[in-house]
């Protein structure tokens, strides 16, 4: 089974983001950037499939600026076999990303595409589903379990109210949720080796994809701040405030 894992370079999950004062976006200069944490889980799952003898080859692909190659190096250090960089500006919309990935699928013919359920920058949660639609393949979104079978995978999805299981005939797309696994830290020798591995490069034009945005970003603002409240000194005072001031309990 050949596995394709798309990864995205995003502001690190532990950085407190700051909105630029001109409202044009979020500050990303001199900020720690990392692989989208959900994509890291997808890479880990692919590597585990290879270690289990199920996956034969893992290809990681990223779409973004030159620096996004750092995230490909991370993926290589974690255990993917090959890495591809499709050069593009940051901020390619999910629909265009799905089209680019579909073009990559034409070249690579993966059996399974594993990707994060969403990127933690724009929080769109669309790319996997869009890719599945463009390919006419089955999709399993927000998965926390994956079992491989004969020509199919069975996924456990995290849905509102619990879990759902689907059997997906291959080729298929699965988007991964947090609880699927805990990604490994790459070992130093693997990080060193990853630095020397080749990265296959192309552009959106090479792949024949139009990345013209459909959405115009008008502005980006800070969310409305919540005014801090008061400290109460006892449970009785709390109950009194909730009953008589906020009137949220009887």
């Amino acid at each position: 089974m050949k596995v394709l894992v798309p990864v995205k370079r995003v502001v690190d999950a532990y950085v407190k983001v700051r909105v630029k004062s001109d409202g044009s976006g979020v500050e990303t200069n001199n900020i720690k950037m990392s692989m989208n944490p959900f994509d890291e889980i997808a890479v880990e799952q692919a590597v585990r499939l290879k270690e289990a003898g199920t996956a034969t080859e893992i290809v990681a692909v990223t779409i973004g600026p030159q620096q996004a190659q750092e995230q490909l190096r991370t993926a290589l250090a974690m255990g993917v076999d090959r890495a591809m960089h499709v050069e593009a500006d940051a901020g390619v919309e999910p629909l265009a990303v799905a089209k680019i990935l579909s073009a990559v699928c034409d070249q690579e013919s993966p059996d399974l595409v594993l990707l994060g359920k969403q990127a933690i920058d724009d929080d769109s949660n669309q790319t996997g589903q869009m890719l599945a639609a463009l390919r006419g393949w089955a999709q399993g979104t927000s998965i926390s379990g994956l079992e491989t079978g004969d020509g199919a995978v069975t996924v456990t999805r995290e849905v509102d109210g619990g879990l759902e299981r689907l059997e997906l005939p291959l080729p298929a797309i699965a988007t991964v949720d947090l609880r699927l696994n805990e990604p490994r830290y790459p070992k130093l020798p693997n990080i060193m080796k990853a630095k020397k591995k080749p990265i296959e490069q192309s552009t959106t034009a090479d792949l024949g994809v139009d990345v013209t945005p459909h959405l115009k970003q008008v502005k980006v603002e800070e969310p409305p701040a919540r005014a801090g409240g008061v400290k109460v000194s006892s449970v009785d005072e709390l109950v009194d405030k909730l009953r008589n001031e906020a009137k949220v309990i009887q």
Partner: protein, 312 residues
Amino acid sequence: MSAILVYAEHDHTELKSGTLSAIACARELGGDIDILVTGSGCADAARQAASIEGVRKVLLAEGEHLENHVAENVAPIIERLAGDYDYVLAAATTGGKNIMPRVAAKLDVQQISDISAVVSADTFVRPIYAGNAMATVQSTDATKLITVRATSFDAVEPGGGSAEVETIDAGTDAGLARFVGADLSASEGPELTTARIVVSGGRGVGSAENFQLIESLAGKMGAAVGASRAAVDAGYVPNDYQVGQTGKVVAPDLYMAVGISGAIQHMAGMKESRVIVAINKDPEAPIFEVADYGLVADLFEALPELDKALGG
């Protein structure tokens, strides 16, 4: 006048509250509102949809292949209908998130996810970076596909309307994903995303056994039980209890955060609650910055007291 299609989620009998919020968003956009109900044996849900004031028509597609709302079978129906509409809306629930992008890609439309406000006919506000920034975006697509953040729009009340229910072609089984089974939590209290009161526990609760204290208080208050990601990761409760960026977004009248420090990712899921109470023994915990009422106390002392104070 614009035409709006709302994809409905339901339990075969009633519409889910997220859908009622999506309909509220449709009313705000203004126009003829049609509701699409898909499933098997869900005529009751269609009737309820028809009873909502301001609904022009309910489109009902029924078939065994639609029973479990598998995206591969539902998406082609929406895709077929979309050409007649200016907007297609769904709630930004796990169901809406699963199906809508599949439709959008086929229509070559860039979906707008999880909108929290309507600015104008083509411009919307949506949270990005886990709600730490709000983006205003303008769509250039002729048909706009949108998922709606349920907590940002007050759910409409069914009643006052009498729209016609029209049965439409349900399509066929795409023969792709096959539903194997579901394991839905049989929680006794109200549903987390629609409860009027939510009591959530964090890592401070300490163990799965101690979570009984949270459950007991929630039971007494008629509240739903939630949890921080730290409590879920520690194995105290299942993942569907999780409130936050990576879990559920809630906005109840009263949110009680017990033993929760207030990580950014948790606050992204609850800071729109009307009243927030924090109980934590660390006076420096960030949760106090958003709490309307903060009590610095050991939860193992405060909760039994609270239980008693509310008992009468």
